[in-house]
Symmetry: C2
Subunit: 206 residues, 2 copies
Amino acid sequence: MITSVELWFEFASTYSYPAAMRIEALAAASGVRVEWKPFLLGPIFASQGWSTSPFNVYPVKGKYMWRDLERICARQGLPLVKQTTFPRNGLAAARVTLALDEADRAGFVRDVYRASFGEDRDISSPDVLGEILGSRGLDGGAVLARAQSPEVKEQLRAQTAQAQALGIFGAPTVVVGGELFWGNDRLEDALDWAVHGPSRLTARTE
Amino acid sequence: MITSVELWFEFASTYSYPAAMRIEALAAASGVRVEWKPFLLGPIFASQGWSTSPFNVYPVKGKYMWRDLERICARQGLPLVKQTTFPRNGLAAARVTLALDEADRAGFVRDVYRASFGEDRDISSPDVLGEILGSRGLDGGAVLARAQSPEVKEQLRAQTAQAQALGIFGAPTVVVGGELFWGNDRLEDALDWAVHGPSRLTARTE
């Protein structure tokens, strides 16, 4: 039994939205804790030769993704509006996440995702982030200042490098004791792995 | 209620393997019929600038895919060996599928997938395909000859063009009354859509 899983997410990532909204309830039902790990996909995509989201690079796939996300959000009861800018730059929100105490992260992350994908707000704007922090009873000015500190900037750079070193190439990715599960549609598998471990791999009968 | 779904598959496609092995049992449980639609990903990938599988173009993603497939096959009790050649050329097997009576297709397709991914056999070889046909009580020589006819060749070309026109960009894809579901991990959603239709899209509460 592994008691803690890491959710590696990027605020610009579409499928990270439903994943961030549902992982804690799933994890709690399995008796597992979630560590929130923001990182940036930009440098990872750049190393694959992409200067924007692959859903923009490959528009046929992008068209499918938006329809698929619409179905998923409908099922989860999540608001979804087509963003006027895609992808939204997640750098500022990722730094703010790291500037927060761990206990404050999950709720902030969910509010930012909802603002971005459910309300088409510009989550790269300090005003928007400050308003979200304030609505959660946090000191927006102080947190935004801390998010600009060299320590937090370096922490996000290091976390992005760590994601790449782990073999992460997209978001969301759940890491469970070194095992990677990519995609909102793998959350259940990841938590099953945390509880049962690789027993599923020895179930092969042929 | 939609009583028939189309499974669009490519013999080279890794995730088409577990999908082909499990879709009929799932569909039968939903009272739905499966139409087997072979097509070629090569021309579609070429239009995206790829000359091979994206899992070769992006090796970090490829490494993840093989591990993910290993987990999936273990859970389904399916044999999986690392292929000495990837991707295996699926052209000949796709033509043979179209040369068969509809009733003979599902079993042949499953045997080819098992030979390719479970036994690392060269499914582009007429000998291998002939052996599979024979083991199923079919006249290998006659079917292989029909698979080389201009009619069958044209049918596969047309089917690949139709896949592209439908917005298909990967395999497996299940098409349900015009709605696309991409990936082995969307089979359940596709069948749910066949039975319940877009009612899931109106479930949005916010």
